[in-house]
Amino acid sequence: MELAIESVSKSFPGVQALDGVSLDLKAGEIHALMGENGAGKSTLIKIVTGLLRPDSGRVLLNGRPVAFGSPRDALRKGVSAVHQERNLIPRFSVGENILLERLPVRNGLVDYGAVEREARRYLDLLDPGIDARAEVRSLSVAQMQIVEIAKALSLETKILLLDEPTASITEHETAALFKVLRKLREDGVAIVFVSHKLEEVFAIAERVTVLRDGRNVARGTLLSEMTRQTLVSLMIGRAERVAEIGERRIDPARVVLEARGLSTERGHRDISFALHHGEILGLYGLVGAGRSELAHAILGAERISAGALLITGRPVRIRDVHDAARRFRMGYVSEDRKQEGLILMHSITRNVAITIWRRLANAVGLINPRSETRAVAPFIARLDVRTPSLGQIVGNLSGGNQQKVSIAKWLAAESQILIIDEPTVGIDIKTKTYLHELIGEIAREGASILLISSDMAEMITLADRILVMHGFRLVGEVVNDHRYETTSKAIMGCVHAVADFEPAAAG
């Protein structure tokens, strides 16, 4: 089956999301769809699957115009999508989720044996390790992604749209996914593949369509005729720039935050490290290594069962994040900005000022809206948040701008210790470079940063030292020489040393 999108336009209040965008997809090809955050990729996918209606333009299936009223309509015609947002029911089993709207029935009752057998067929293609009877909420994020893809496969899909399917899964799982995609391609399925990862795109796709600010800047160009540089410059409108982190003065005598033999109820054992004034200390590990949980424990959101936490040399007991922020000037930029970082229904001003309301209040406890705006505006300007106004609802901003708001509130709070968790997941190249420079700048101004990341390149760009975490333990420390080959090898050496030793604890 072939899909053609012909000069589709779509606007939202204040934003022209798509402006005459076209894309043609042939049977049996993998077509990359690329662009910076906010370029319109997700909007385009939602239009094809009937979640949104275009203002103008049309979508053709095998040359005939179609207008799906809903995703269900699209599914019936063999068009399915895996969106960035999870669309699974947490308390249902994997099998039920995969076969949700057509559960096999025997004698009027759901036949769970058949559910399992049927689901198994598709799961085996992707990851035989996932139990079809397990509840979805017990799975890792990566496994949920696999389940979503299995669900799409089970629908006899002819046209499959994948919106950043690899954003939160490991390299190993990505390799497995690619094997499946190649097999589907052989079977004549047409696939649209959205990703920010250039290596992946070059590895899997034949042609690429690039969007910038809602317009086509490339339409079905052969990737074999492109270089990495040309593709990046198409996306960002100019040549790629390397983040300039600059020199910083780290004071090895001033230990700001120290953990001594820390164990937690979540399973961390004997964690010891020291964070110095002005330092960016990396905490590297794969998804599930226990990094975010350690951050939560430091902030008082997880129970510490043994060991000590010291701030500027004094042992402290932190009750909760409120306590951490108020007494110790700590801040936490969450990995999951939508769930944990922002109040999407509130304005930019409110989301930033949330950390400083008490400070803004006058003697009788009143906050002057003008002083609130005045306190917030410099950070929004400094972080270059693209928005028509400070009153804009944060839910309407692009991912990169949301992340900036999420960081801005801790800058406003003048945090001295900042824990930044996966700051650039799902964020485009231009903003990523910008955020890296910003993190360097914050450290240069004297804040101390604990940077959690599973992005090796990001670690090597930013961190001074890198702690390696695996299975809720620290398994090594690497001094970063900012050369990718040597440092990445040293880090992976730490991981493999333990992983080989105790394979059961892997993941």
């Binding site: 209040p13 409120h322 951490a324 109040i343 409110r350 406890g365 709070a413």
Partner: protein, 317 residues
Amino acid sequence: MSWFRRLLLVEWSGLAAAIVLGAIALSFIAPNFLTEFNIYVMLRSLSVGLLVAFAQMITLGVGQMNIAVGALGGLTAIIFGATMELYGFPIALAVPVALGIGALGGLINGLLTVRTGVNAFIITLATASAFTGVDFGITGSIPFYKMPAALVAFGDRHLSAIPYLLVAPLIVAMGLGVFFSRTAPGRQLLAFGGNPHAAELSGISRERVVVSAHVLSGLLAGAAAVLAVAQLGSAQPTIGADWLLLSFAAPIIGGAALTGGHISVLGTMFAVLLLGLIQNGMVLAKVDPYWVQFVLGALILAAVGLNRWRAVESGAA
């Protein structure tokens, strides 16, 4: 039509229009509608309703519910009556004691919610039953009739069509307006309602926010009970029995998000006014009171529909 659409996007616009149109229609249908006495009667019965609606609005703002508003109101009312009739408390002492009982009930709700981690809906469903039990246990369902003359007079007095009773909810409304838009605790309460997890990780204390929302809600339920006693002239154990539906209807019609994080003081006030107008109009037009229930239900559905449309139009959905 664009100015009309824009007007519809303002939360309380539909309500204001409905109130004006309703009042005009009523003044034609029922000639005694626009009399000073009728307006006084209507506003007097609204006074209690406004406080009840505000009590629920606060818990909705923090993303929770207070099923116990009415039960706590009933309990407060009879304790208020008992302190004056049985123990001879002066009004100046009995009122703060009654408000304290309301706040205490809220504190119990809040602490139970925070400490157990159980949904406030369940907690207040349980405490509602408990409060009502204590209420009827104490009184054996016999009201206190001997209320101080000054209190009863306060419940009756009026300045042309404006009852003295209305002063209390108006002061509370202004206070709440300032609280939610201009103070740190008020902002934090709404931030928590908008996304509890993010608010907590931004350094907002969950315990403090949830407990203070329930205390405020209880305090206002207590205040509503005091007004109800003044209005009725006796402390009935059944006070509060019919508050629950109104308590949700008004804030929701007024534009509050059921999921928390957004409320409207002005919208809630307009909603109470509209509901009062409908009730009053139906009485004047001699409509069977059971139909008032039906109209209330239909109105809630219409309001929720309008809110949904507004969310979709402004791209927040």
